[in-house]
């Protein structure tokens, strides 16, 4: 079969099926939470595990939250989870600071290891909110590998507080935050770097 015939065949197939429906932005997190949330001790530790403070929530809440995120021009893939509270929810065992060229800054507190994970609290200050279709992503250099820890956007005042977790045996050399385009090519532009 010639390339032309082959392309015709593929085009015919593409035209014969309905267009796929866009997946709602928050579904990834909610689906994963629905699946893994009940796994408990069965769940294997991975290098970076993001854990929302509310471990299980119904999709309707997530849908509302995602809507707010969109309205706030958050990343297209954002799911909004309020973290709230000024103080750290755990005793920080170690901390690191990040700074950016435009005066933005961040602190990351790590708590004690517990059941294979270590809680992490990220506080971002004076970082301009990413516009629609963009988001921020925090990375760690782990033995030469770039490992994504958490993604987020900031509020209109440039603040964000994100709770997450990392594997308790993860040792990193540096940490940075990039501005990423949803579905865009890696790597994003670095906006904060550990000092």
């Amino acid at each position: 079969m010639s390339d032309h015939d082959d392309f015709d065949r593929v085009e015919q197939i593409l035209r014969s099926v309905p267009a796929p429906t866009a997946v709602p932005p928050g579904l990834a997190d909610v689906a994963r939470e629905a699946a893994l949330g009940g796994a408990g001790a069965d769940r294997r530790s991975v290098v970076a595990v993001a854990r929302p403070r509310v471990p299980r929530f119904r999709f309707r809440f997530a849908r509302l939250s995602a809507g707010v995120a969109v309205m706030a021009a958050a990343a297209a893939a954002a799911l909004v989870i309020g973290v709230g509270g000024r103080g750290s929810p755990f005793d920080a065992q170690t901390s690191l600071a990040l700074a950016g060229p435009t005066g933005a800054s961040a602190t990351v507190d790590f708590g004690a290891a517990n059941q294979g994970t270590r809680p992490m609290l990220v506080r971002i200050h004076d970082l301009r909110p990413a516009k629609a279709g963009w988001y921020y992503e925090m990375w760690f250099n782990v033995r030469g590998d770039e490992v994504s820890a958490v993604t987020f956007n900031t509020s209109s005042s440039g603040e964000a507080t994100v709770r997450s977790a990392i594997s308790s045996d993860m040792h990193w050399g540096s940490c940075w935050v990039t501005l990423e385009k949803v579905g865009g090519p890696d790597p994003g532009r670095v906006v904060l770097r550990s000092t």
Binding site: D3, D6, F7, V10, Q12, I13, L14, V17, P18, A19, P20, T21, A22, V23, P24, A28, D29, A31, R32, A34, A35, L36, A39, R43, R44, V46, V47, A48, A50, F59, R63, A77, A78, V80, I81, G82, V83, R86, V122, I124, Y135, E137, D145, E146, V147, S148, V150, F152, N153, T154, S155, S157, E159, A160, T161, V162, R163, S164, G184, P185
Partner: protein
């Protein structure tokens, strides 16, 4: 005052070329399902989600014709994948067919739950619509095509979706993406060639 964070709990990804140890992205669907079944590997599950989320969501939405219900049922379908992964047997069929069955069953169950069964008289006019078996085959084919399109590199997928799902001409795509027309043509041809192989692998040989 601490303001809310817009946290997107971790995509748990690694830069594509740098992280092999924790990146199950190169595994086959069957291997990923077995990883989920035997290791309870949340990363393998995340990769499966990335590969299948749009196909599953589209399938569920087509069956239910209700976006809101599709949200919940898709969520439940993925929870079922995690729960039931141990029941997958490679020798019985592809992971794709198994995932399709899980999602379709979830959607059909939801439909049954929503529509009360009313026993009444048989209709006088026969239904000339497609038979259930033909509908299931068409759904399966659409599912496989969507998964195949989602497997394309982003820049190729983009032109294919604009051309075949949005109905744009190559000139319009060129304008939309601010790309030279020649680039659009090249990407389209490359994508079609790639799709031809992927569709054949997935058993879509019409």
């Amino acid at each position: 005052m601490t303001t809310a964070a817009y946290a997107i709990p971790g995509p748990i990804r690694a830069r594509s070329s740098t992280l092999r140890r924790m990146d199950p992205g190169g595994l086959s669907d069957e291997d990923l399902l077995e990883q989920v079944a035997t290791e309870r590997d949340s990363e393998a599950f995340a990769v499966l989600y990335r590969r299948y989320s749009r196909a599953i969501y589209s399938l569920v939405q087509r069956v239910l014709r209700d976006h809101h219900a599709a949200d919940d049922v898709s969520q439940e379908a993925f929870a079922a994948v995690w729960r039931a992964a141990r029941g997958y047997r490679r020798e019985r069929g592809t992971a794709s067919a198994w995932l399709f069955a899980i999602a379709r069953n979830a959607a059909v169950d939801a439909t049954r739950a929503r529509v009360p069964l009313v026993v009444g008289e048989a209709p006088e006019v026969p239904d000339h619509g497609p038979l259930p078996e033909a509908m299931a085959i068409a759904e399966m084919e659409a599912f496989e095509v969507h998964v195949a399109v989602d497997s394309l590199p982003d820049r190729e997928r983009e032109v294919i979706e604009l051309a075949y799902y949005s109905g744009l001409s190559q000139t319009e795509i060129s304008d939309r993406l601010s790309l030279p027309l020649g680039t659009v043509k090249t990407r389209t041809r490359t994508a079609l060639a790639r799709l031809s192989d992927v569709l054949e692998e997935r058993g879509v040989t019409r």
